[in-house]
Symmetry: C2
Subunit: 333 residues, 2 copies
């Protein structure tokens, strides 16, 4: 294998998104928590799917969306995540490779089907996710290629990876190899409820030196520090030994270090169609910016631009030439 450096290697659950428009009444009738990600079993998945409207099927998975976005912005990107060798798994792998990112994890030949998330989008553009983890449960430490991790300047992990039982071993293995090679490790907190499930472990990772960069939206950050107050959560983050990147939807992002907090405005959006992937694409832009040597505020602007693109259409993968868009906004040369 050639020693080509990778700018961003992301590791996460490989999930096909099955997206349908719905209304708030449907969420209430099915006991769904608007805006959150809920894990569901196969039976629940079938029931929910049967009740859902017609769907658009596109590649998804938080960390994979981030890798796709980074690749589209010109970063050398790779993804680690597990699909099954079924039709949806093949579609999934195709869509990753089609944007030029490296995806070499072999599909599972047995066991549950490729994961899918049934995503319900309400008229306000908010998405509510119901994820059947399927083949993601077969991601193990063996799927982490040490060679690939060593050559990745930044390894980016999603908090959701804590859900499938074996994946956290893969996660820890990747962190160890990355740091041994002197590379940076980033984590996204993924979802307030995910933070609730693994709060102590996430705080532990940050405090035992496993993490160099933390991505979170303000809801996740408040969940992390168990506070309803934004200022309290941000003050707590400032004490951690990480670069903190906090998104606040249309209120823009904050870049938080021990030295201070820098606010970066969001890009204006004509109409929010589907917020799925907003955080993932923000991270994509930020990481691609780091790879290009931009300063943190510029990275956050690039993140904001990528997020603004993705929420103006259905699906969490960009439908515009992001690199071109970034050039139009003079954020990339």
């Amino acid at each position: 294998m050639p020693d080509t450096p990778i700018d961003v290697l992301t590791i996460g659950n490989a999930i096909v998104d099955v997206i349908a428009k719905t209304d708030d009444a449907f969420l209430v009738a099915h006991g769904l928590h608007k805006g959150a990600m809920q894990l569901i079993d196969e039976e629940r998945a079938e029931d929910l799917y049967a009740a859902m409207g017609p769907s658009t099927v596109v590649g998804g998975g938080s960390a994979a969306n981030t890798a796709v976005g980074a690749a589209m912005l010109g970063a050398r990107a790779a993804f680690i995540g597990k699909v099954r060798d079924d039709e949806l798994g093949r579609l999934y792998a195709h869509d990753l490779r089609a944007v030029g990112l490296s995806y070499t994890v072999p599909p599972a030949l047995h066991g549950p089907a490729t994961a899918r998330s049934f995503i319900l989008v309400t008229p306000d553009g908010e998405r509510t996710m119901n994820t059947y983890l399927g083949a993601c449960q077969n991601l193990t430490a063996e799927d982490i290629d040490p060679h690939q991790v060593r050559h990745a300047r930044i390894v980016y992990l999603e908090g959701y990876l804590w859900d499938p039982p074996e994946a956290k071993k893969a996660f820890r293995k990747a962190v160890a190899i990355a740091h041994e090679a002197g590379n940076a490790v980033a984590l996204t907190l993924s979802d307030p409820f995910c933070v609730d499930r693994y709060r102590d472990e996430f705080l532990g990772l940050m405090r035992d030196g496993s993490l160099d960069i933390l991505f979170a939206n303000i809801h996740e950050l408040k969940s992390l520090y168990q506070t309803a107050d934004e200022a309290t959560a941000l003050a707590a983050l400032r004490e951690e030994a990480v670069l903190g990147v906090v998104t606040r939807s249309e209120a823009g992002a904050l870049v938080v270090t021990r030295d201070g907090t820098r606010a970066v405005p969001a890009f204006p959006v004509e109409r929010v169609v589907d917020t799925t992937g907003a955080g993932d694409l923000f991270a994509a832009g930020f990481l691609a910016g780091l790879a290009k040597g931009l300063d943190h505020a510029e990275c956050a602007r690039l993140g904001g631009l990528a997020a603004a693109e993705v929420i103006q259409h259905i699906g969490a993968r960009p439908q515009t030439d992001l690199r071109d868009l970034a050039r139009q906004h003079k954020l990339l040369p």
Copy 2:
């Protein structure tokens, strides 16, 4: 089976659309005829897919799109077409039933996979389709439920149905049953090259009394009468014993009978994103209008409205509540 009347029963190839954005250079490099539908074999499908960008997967198939649109406009609609019992086939059936239309054809348990069309959308919004017919080749006359056809006020068939070898028998069976029951039969010409393949047969169907309504865009109509001149083609259509409905993109539609031709303007469109399904949805609106007892000009307006919706996003199935949209425009009560 209860004798519930059906407003519109459509019969066609059951095809999953795999849609990717591309540029004109890609079409040229792969020898694709822009704007047309080309049939491809499995090997070609694999090559083309490998070269394509990331895709959006949605239900498609011309006649199925029409049934979906009609159902969304409040018509009682049904569809006949063949999928395989695979993942894409299940997605396909789900999306039909999710809009409330009747789809009772059993999936093929053997043979080729569910059909897919690799649709390449250029920046001008034009779509170029490459269709692997797969399981559609297993649609036979046995799949036509005489009971269902007898209860359908209009049976709508697509010209593409002439491509799979057995389907034309299904087609002819449906026509015979429909006319025996005193119901109307409509045909869409589908594509100028499809017309080229089956010109004599399509003209024969129109002239032997098999058809009551003919849908065509102006390119298909010119192909039918082998003329480059619009007026010549329209004059020829006026001589046929059918209700002719001719679409001309942003120039609007023409309703053509022996008594005269009525022009109906198109709806203005902000930005054409993907023209896939424009004709299908025009037919959906027209047929739903007939079912509601509207006059031909009103039917064409409703068709134009549905077409305008579908070309403003990726995919050939409406993403808006069409009925609500029609009410806003005072086209439906």
